[in-house]
Symmetry: C2
Subunit: 318 residues, 2 copies
């Protein structure tokens, strides 16, 4: 749930990048009242025009206008251009301003932002674990972050003023209905490699394999996709640029988890080839137990409608 | 939608195996009026007792009582014991009776049933593409097959009486709201290998990999599973016995598609290791296009609530 707060946490916040996440932050900021002024900027003129048309805060024409005097600057770009966005914003950041991001890889984000920021800026990397398979300014909605985790990976800076900034940024996300978790960037990247990056890679891969198989099966892969394949196509519908950058910037952890996955798959393949039913059964039973853990942890429901309800928080508000 | 038909298609139908599919057929038969008498049998006494308690048709105590005089016998057992079930039923099948099944592999099913059936029985293999991740007699519901495909893979028998049986069995499934498609068993097994069997194998495998990673990540894989992993755990929650049998009985097609998948994944892994962003981007874009085909074919919706609505046909009626 979004909390309408009485005293704004920030005077002026600036959102750089008006895609799914950026436009959702603009809407959630408006709905929750976390800031007096909400500025938004995108390097793409057409996106800026679209943002202005649908009324996403004050659309700035330059990054200078967007960042000057802002108390919080949220970089909502693909991971691959985060460094460039931070560099463009840096000269205009005032003393004590918070610079954060929303990308799916945190160690490279922290490095990219710190490398170009003046010492008087508080750099805190962040990652709201929320999204849909849709992209662009009109894909956003205020409740996107409601009931979701937001992981913050701050620097080791123990100064009081930095810690106050971490607390303010936490309250900002909490106002959107998120639960904030603080961890190191390295740990974040390993955990997300298995919970998000590998699943997306696998989903993309199975879609590519299926597309090739359509030459043999003549349209029947799509026709009979409800047998399980369909669920993978949804995951694989996400933004290609965003995901390219995730894999390039979390290479080490992704290759590590992918290596484990491939070893396990080779063992499964061998069990099928040699008709080792017991090994298959044992592995399938183990896999089922992790599903139970996910349900027990409240991360999904056991309902046979695929664990999702239309009144769930991730449904668009409109 | 289930059609309430005025004239029953069969006098007596018999369902062998009272799991998710068998109990759903019993309920759908009752709701649609496809038969005057609905008999149900399960080798497991506790399952029979449960079936009787929840009122799933006439529960028979022996397979002889269940099959004697039946016009249609539907074997709803795991694929691995289908031959044994057919053998047990065969001596009691009357002239012109239809013997069918509901398993996910069709070439082995057809062979298993034909091998033990008297010549006067019409063997037609079948596969309703429907299911949930739940198992057992109380997991079934009448609308499970509504809006779903049902693939029938008949023999090449061109006799009039056999073709009449194929038509009657088609009308049976259509009364449950299914769309019937007729194809060869071999083609079915190849199409399902990519649309269903491989996705399940991959989902099981990623769950096993994730479980091992939990030793490093200490519960955080489950905690942050909403990033994509959660969707795989649902698929991997399906019945281990059923899936073991699917892989053992569709070995050739599964190993073929798995081989293609593994090759594609190795290429992706290499692209990540060598930071080949263009190759990643191209593949992700191709994968996205197959998602579009799935939506265009009406197999899913583009809605951001993961393409599922609570009023959808696969929601239990209760």
């Amino acid at each position: 749930m979004i909390t309408k707060i009485s005293n704004p946490i920030f005077d002026t916040i600036t959102i750089i990048g008006a895609g799914l996440i950026g436009s959702s932050i603009a809407r959630a900021s408006e709905a929750s009242g976390v800031a007096k002024t909400i500025r938004i900027y995108d390097t793409n003129e057409a996106v800026r025009a679209c943002a202005a048309q649908i009324g996403l805060g004050d659309v700035s024409d330059t990054i200078e206008a967007a960042c000057t005097g802002a108390d919080l600057v949220v970089l909502c770009t693909p991971v691959g251009v985060l460094g460039a966005a931070a560099q463009a914003a840096a000269p205009f950041l005032k003393e004590g301003a918070i610079l954060t991001d929303v990308g799916s890889v945190k160690e490279s984000a922290l490095n990219d932002m710190v490398a170009v920021s003046p010492a008087h800026v508080h750099v805190i990397a962040g990652h709201p674990i929320a999204g849909t398979e849709h992209s662009g300014p009109d894909a956003g909605f205020a409740k996107l972050f409601s009931g979701r985790w937001c992981i913050l990976t701050p620097l080791e800076d123990q100064s009081d003023s930095y810690q106050v900034s971490v607390q303010k940024l936490s309250r900002f996300w909490e106002a959107f209905g998120s639960t904030v978790e603080i961890m190191s960037a390295k740990r974040h990247d390993l955990v997300l490699a298995i919970t998000s990056h590998l699943p997306h890679l696998i989903a993309y891969n199975i879609c590519a394999t299926a597309e090739d198989m359509e030459q043999v099966t003549e349209g029947e892969v799509v026709k009979f996709s409800a047998g399980g394949f369909r669920d993978f196509t949804r995951i694989a519908a996400s933004d290609p640029t965003m995901w390219r950058d995730v894999f390039l910037n979390n290479k080490e952890a992704v290759l590590e988890t992918l290596g484990r996955f491939t070893e396990d798959l080779a063992a499964l393949q061998r069990a099928i080839r040699w008709s080792d039913g017991d090994q298959l059964f044992d592995l399938f039973t183990r896999a089922r137990s992790i599903r139970k853990s996910v349900i027990d942890a409240g991360q999904d429901t056991a309902a046979p409608n695929f664990g999702r309800r239309s009144d769930e928080d991730d449904t668009p508000a409109e």
